[in-house]
Amino acid sequence: MLQQYFGSRKTILFILAGVVILALLLIFWRLISLQRAASESAAEPALRISYCGAEPEELCVLSFGRDMEDNMVVNVFVPDRKFPDFYLKIKRPSGESVYLCEKNREVSTSVFCFGEMVNLQEKMEISLISSENDRLIAFGNIMLNAILVSGQFQSESDGIQIPEETLGTPTPMATVASTALTSTPTPTFTPDPSYPSYP
């Protein structure tokens, strides 16, 4: 029956050979990955961690911030999607704190950590500890000079005039669900066309 469907014995042999080769490749790949995992678990020197540059490529701290519960937020960049899960330990003159970290579900190279607030100008010794086996992954000394404010936010403090307006009418929007808001009409101004070309 197989021969009737696939045409000839040669074709069946080709398919079987393909399946065997595929299976061998899978076994080979599995062996390699097991070997790699074993070698990774061997002692590795701890990495250094510092502030990120404009286009981060190595493990680094993207930014510090805070939340409404007065937690300090640490935004960490990890270079590899398969970077092990970790938590932060921050040593400073007033004591040592642990910061829980969560990988972003959508972009696994971004890790969000939070914990006790640190005072400005305080020197910190940050350690990244593996959640799996408490191994030190990376460490570095960082000083929190300020909760930085970006260029965009700063430029507005230079006195850019924002046209006055009350809540606008969210007319049908193609991209998000919106509620009906009543409002006064929008003042006329020269429109910025959507979908711009390069700046």
Binding site: F77, E106, F112, F153, A174, T186
Partner: protein, 593 residues
């Protein structure tokens, strides 16, 4: 040279990082290509060269692959998740049996190697775009993400809800969701890589029409190169997050190629089954992007117009030709006068001026050597531009629109320009061959000259990396959304910045997201209320209005049209900072009566 090596290195690093995603997407493309080629060969036998068939199948893959994704959706709807397993098993079986039983064309090692290397080169170049990107660009992407997430969720747990009452661009989302679901890919990765893979594939499918018309492989390959590197489009679509529009181009290329075959039915052994292919192509393209239907109507009118012109005496043929050129000139003038539409040509006549000028120069030769196809391309351009001014009201629940909008026409202009360029190069060959003093051995050098020119132009003017214009999202936004997801109640109302949508000549103040807040609803499922970003938070009536709308939080991203943080910070009695990172903030609305 160093420039291209650097871009290729960046692309290669993405290639390694996203190897599984790229492999999964290419498998679906190759699957569709194989099925299409087998069916086409069965219908038309060996009337086409390997290269022609390969080029056509690089547009034709979209038919079987889209139909597979539609079948998957219907199967899961009727029989649940088990249908997905059965459908994929059948698809694999069909693929294997097609490869072995239907005996696809053998290809010489050199041809195969050149094709693979050219594709790998284009793909790697295009992948460099993803080197430092976090999420797909601009506001459209968030909606595409949401719909694909809905479909992936649907396959895992079928429900009767629809993603939107006025939702109609189903093709791209179903296809992406199927791949994401079957190969277990992150949705963001699927969207990003699929877009770049399409940009790499698209130029190859334009080889067919120019090869059939001119018989010149060099001119046909030059057409593809023009389409890939000549202008900012279609690459810039990725900065706009217009993925369905990009995918509709695959359908448009296919319908154009097959439509051309139908028009030139006297040049091969014609079979009526070509109309089935055309119909299927139109259907799939419409599933991917409804506006492609308008392009097809323009194509039909342009074909009729071309056929009518062909019957006129020679003098009147040229008169009509000149009239269409004049109509185009008038349209360009009117478009340039409109503040909304002026962007249409801004870049084609700005950074892209060298490629555009080259095509204008080539127009002389293409209109001399291939007047019919040249006229068709000019006519279709004029018709599409006319679509910018024809109003349509109330379609699918949207407000006043025009048949085609400015971004769509801007996107598609590369298509007639590329074909005119290819025809022009072939026309130039014919012209030079007619000269008595022209040595024929110079022909490859003429081609090489224009190829080098294109690469030089692309190095200086083509953007291989994301544009700042449209990058809403940064890693602080990512952390802010993560914090909101773990902290804010599910029923929180979050106000986000929006700006007016201006893409047609009939806008009436529809809103579009203006910063990363647009990702809150699709990513963390909190309700968002879009409001124009230029709101005055220092006014008490604004605070009252915000309270009245039961808005709990205000999200501030890092774009020029985001909300004004200085005003928010100044009103500490009304707006309290809830989350702060350098480039992302969340304010809690307090003191509501």
């Amino acid at each position: 040279m160093t420039f291209y090596i650097n871009v290729l290195m960046d692309g290669f690093s993405v290639l390694v990082d996203q190897a599984w995603t790229i492999f999964s997407i290419l498998i679906i493309v190759v699957w569709g290509q194989t099925i299409f080629t087998a069916i086409f060969k069965k219908a038309f036998e060996d009337q086409f060269t390997f290269l022609e068939l390969f080029s056509l199948s690089l547009a034709g893959w979209i038919l079987p692959s889209s139909l597979l994704s539609v079948l998957l959706f219907i199967g899961v709807f009727l029989f649940g998740e088990i249908a997905a397993i059965v459908i994929f098993a059948i698809a694999t079986g069909v693929f294997i049996s097609t490869l072995f039983v239907w005996k696809l064309n053998r290809v010489s090692l050199l041809t195969g190697l050149i094709l693979i290397l050219s594709f790998a080169f284009f793909l790697t170049l295009k992948l460099a775009f993803l080197r430092n990107i976090i999420l797909p660009s601009y506001f459209d992407s968030a909606e595409h993400y949401r719909i694909i997430k809905y479909f992936v969720g649907y396959y895992e747990l079928p429900s009767n809800d629809l993603p939107l009452s006025n939702y109609y661009h189903v093709g791209f989302h179903l296809l992406s969701a199927s791949i994401s679901y079957f190969f277990d890919l992150e949705i963001v990765d699927t969207i990003l890589v699929f877009g770049q893979a399409m940009l790499a594939i698209l130029p190859f499918s334009l080889f067919f029409i120019v090869k059939r018309e001119t018989g010149s492989n060099a001119a046909a390959a030059f057409t593809g190169l023009l389409a890939g590197l000549g202008w900012h489009m279609p690459s810039h679509l990725m900065n706009w997050g217009k993925y369905p529009a990009l995918f509709s181009l695959v359908g448009i290329h296919f319908v154009l190629n097959v439509g051309y075959l139908a028009y030139r039915s006297n040049r091969f052994k014609f079979k009526r089954s070509i109309y089935w292919l055309l119909g299927l192509g139109v259907l799939v393209s419409a599933l991917i992007h409804t506006r492609s239907l308008i392009v097809f109507v323009c194509m039909i009118i342009a074909i009729l117009f071309t056929a009518w012109r062909g019957r006129l005496p020679l003098f009147f043929q040229w008169l009509v030709f000149v009239l269409v050129l004049c109509a185009l000139a008038v349209q360009i003038f009117v478009v340039q006068k409109s503040s909304i539409l002026t962007l249409l040509f801004g870049y084609y006549t700005g950074q892209d001026i060298f490629a555009t000028s080259l095509v204008i120069f080539f127009l002389i030769f293409s209109s001399w050597a291939f007047p019919d196809l040249t006229f068709f391309m000019l006519a279709i351009s004029a018709l599409m531009m006319t679509g910018l001014f024809i109003p349509v009201t109330g379609f699918a629940g949207y407000g006043p629109q025009t048949l085609l909008d400015r971004p769509y026409v801007q996107m598609i202009l590369y298509l007639p320009l590329s074909i005119l360029g290819g025809l022009g190069l072939s026309g130039l060959f014919q012209f030079l061959q007619g000269l008595s003093f022209y040595p024929k051995r110079l022909m490859p050098f003429v081609t090489l000259f224009f190829v080098v020119f294109l690469f030089w132009n692309a190095k200086n003017n083509h953007k291989f990396y994301p544009s700042d214009c449209c990058q809403f999202f940064n890693r602080d936004d990512l952390a802010a959304l993560q914090w909101m997801d773990r902290t804010l109640p599910l029923d929180s109302n979050i106000m986000i910045a929006a700006s007016n949508l201006y893409v047609t000549s009939l806008e009436e103040g529809a809103l579009a997201g203006a910063d990363s807040g647009i990702w809150i609803a699709p990513m963390i499922s909190r309700k968002t209320i879009p409001v124009r970003g230029n709101l005055s938070f220092d006014r008490s009536d604004v605070h009252v209005d915000i309270c009245r709308q039961k808005i709990d939080f205000i999200y501030v991203g890092n774009m020029p049209q985001s909300f004004n943080v200085l005003q928010l910070d100044a009103q500490k009695d009304w707006y309290q900072i809830a989350f702060l990172l350098p480039q992302a903030r969340v304010y809690q609305v307090i003191a509501c009566p």
